[in-house]
């Protein structure tokens, strides 16, 4: 962890006024929980109503220029040429070893691609984008990478999100499907609204001019159904939803095949490749290769945390937990882990070592909690 000064988002004072307890995250001082609403209550509130999360620490990038699709397809696995206008997709930045450098949400906008990626990878991602853009520009390509530093990002997540946003912005959003984005006028302020999130619930990620983010967030919070939520709830919600945390469940050493993220690779991209590490990744796709798989586990007896060892039913060490919690919505101990492919089938009995105890575990399908996304 860096010992330098932590960065603050534009909502720092609002968090502080509303009793946030802060924790350092990727060089930022971020709210973890708020007074009067513990991590558990905050988690349940999001599942039952809706919460606002400050995610302004994430990197927002705009990629413009005629050659933007060709450029970004060189770095990620998505089919961006086929992505419809307003469509958004989860994608992966890959490396030459077939590993995952970051995960990202890319939205097709009118004259640009809007890219949101992880705070912890922000410097690396931006340098990677700029270096490859420069190489293409030197060959005469028309591409421009621009960090969006005048917009903050908040996530409104939970079943009450649509009605809250409709009330605030005087729009109808019932026809807006999950994983799409559009501009929405919020009280005269043009905001990019993506129907997406990291909780398994319906919700929106709002990119708001930084000068206006405080007032818009405060107005959202006037709605009694909406409460602030911090990183603690964000992590338990995403894990129940089976969503990966970069740096824990996926990283530069895990391939999309091992991580169970082959579905992010566009059909055309599987034929044509053309992204970094495509030979290795597509080789694994074709041979169903890769040594291991990311699986969901339910563990009996005690919560298993990251780095806990996974054993076969016979007691042989076969893998490692990458994230684990006592799931607030389920009352069960859930985890993600990497295990050899032969142990990755649903219902495979395994064991997990927690302190001195060897606990029974079983492979389950993810998400652990059914997604509640908005379909039109």
């Amino acid at each position: 962890m860096s010992t330098g000064a932590l960065r603050r988002t534009a909502l720092y004072d609002l968090h502080k006024e509303r009793g946030a307890k802060f924790a350092p995250f990727a060089g930022w001082d971020m709210p973890l929980v708020y007074d009067g609403l513990g991590a558990l209550d905050s988690h349940m509130h999001t599942r039952q109503h809706a919460s606002v999360f400050d995610v302004s620490h994430m990197l927002q990038t705009r990629i413009a220029g005629r050659d933007r699709h060709r450029f970004l397809e060189g770095l990620v696995v998505a089919d961006l040429k086929e992505l419809p206008l307003g469509g958004a997709t989860l994608s992966l930045f890959t490396n030459a070893n077939g590993g995952i450098e970051d995960d990202t949400i890319i939205t097709q906008q009118d004259n640009s691609l809007y890219v949101v990626s992880n705070a912890g990878c922000a410097d690396k991602d931006l340098a990677h984008l700029q270096r490859h853009a420069k190489a293409l520009q030197d060959q005469g390509a028309d591409v421009d990478v621009c960090r969006i530093d005048d917009h903050s990002l908040i996530a409104l997540q939970g079943p009450a999100s649509q009605s809250a946003l409709e009330q605030l912005a005087a729009v109808k959003l019932g026809q807006m499907p999950f994983m799409t984005g559009r501009l929405v006028d919020i009280g005269g302020v043009p905001c990019h609204v993506a129907r997406s999130g990291y909780t398994g619930e319906d919700g929106f990620e709002l990119s708001i001019p930084t000068s206006e983010v405080r007032s818009i967030t405060a107005r959202l919070l006037e709605n009694p159904a909406i409460k602030l939520a911090g990183l603690a709830a964000r992590d338990s919600l995403r894990l129940e939803a089976g969503l990966c945390l970069y740096g824990s469940d996926i990283d530069a050493t895990t391939t999309p095949v091992e991580a169970g993220l082959v579905w992010t690779i566009g059909k055309r991209r599987r034929r044509e490749g053309g992204f970094i590490g495509a030979d290795i990744i597509l080789g694994q796709v074709a041979s169903k290769g890769g040594d291991r798989r990311r699986v969901g586990l339910v563990i009996e007896g005690a919560p298993a945390r990251a780095h806990a060892k996974v054993l076969s039913a016979e007691g042989e060490e076969v893998g490692t937990v990458t994230s684990g919690i006592p799931a607030p919505s389920l009352g069960k101990n859930i985890a993600m882990a990497y295990v050899p492919k032969r142990f990755s089938k649903k219902d495979t009995p395994l064991k997990v070592k927690v302190r001195s105890r060897t606990l029974d575990a079983r492979v389950v399908k993810m998400p652990f909690v059914a997604a509640n996304y908005h379909h039109v």
């Binding site: 991590a39 558990l40 919690i325």
Partner: protein, 144 residues
Amino acid sequence: MFALLTRTAAAARTAGIARRNLTKYTKSHEWVKIEQGVGTVGITNYAQSALGDVVYVEVPEVGIEATPDEPVGVVESVKSTSDIYSPLSGTIVDANQAVVESTKLINKSPEADGWLFKVKFSSADEIDQLLDLAAYKQLTESDD
């Protein structure tokens, strides 16, 4: 001569402590209330507040030997795990099953009903190495 003196002093202190009730604290945020050769142990209010909603607790088995170096239990929130140490060496003579059943007790009453276990300590000398309330308060304030 010197050794003899200190031993005598320690013995005198032990006798005093044995009569008196007192509560001491550890740097790892346990409290121990000492009564008649038995220490009742729990986590401090500061610790429960830092941890947040407790959702899982393991208390030690009655009869095991504990030392301050080895965790004997665990208190967990959704996000994190906190090992519990016995501030004093000795035999575990009781464990609070109520907190295992109702983990919320630790958040509601960390320094009374939310106690975790009792240790019959083998040497009162270790008591001197623990923090008194003033020293513990100083520790938690410097943490903020």
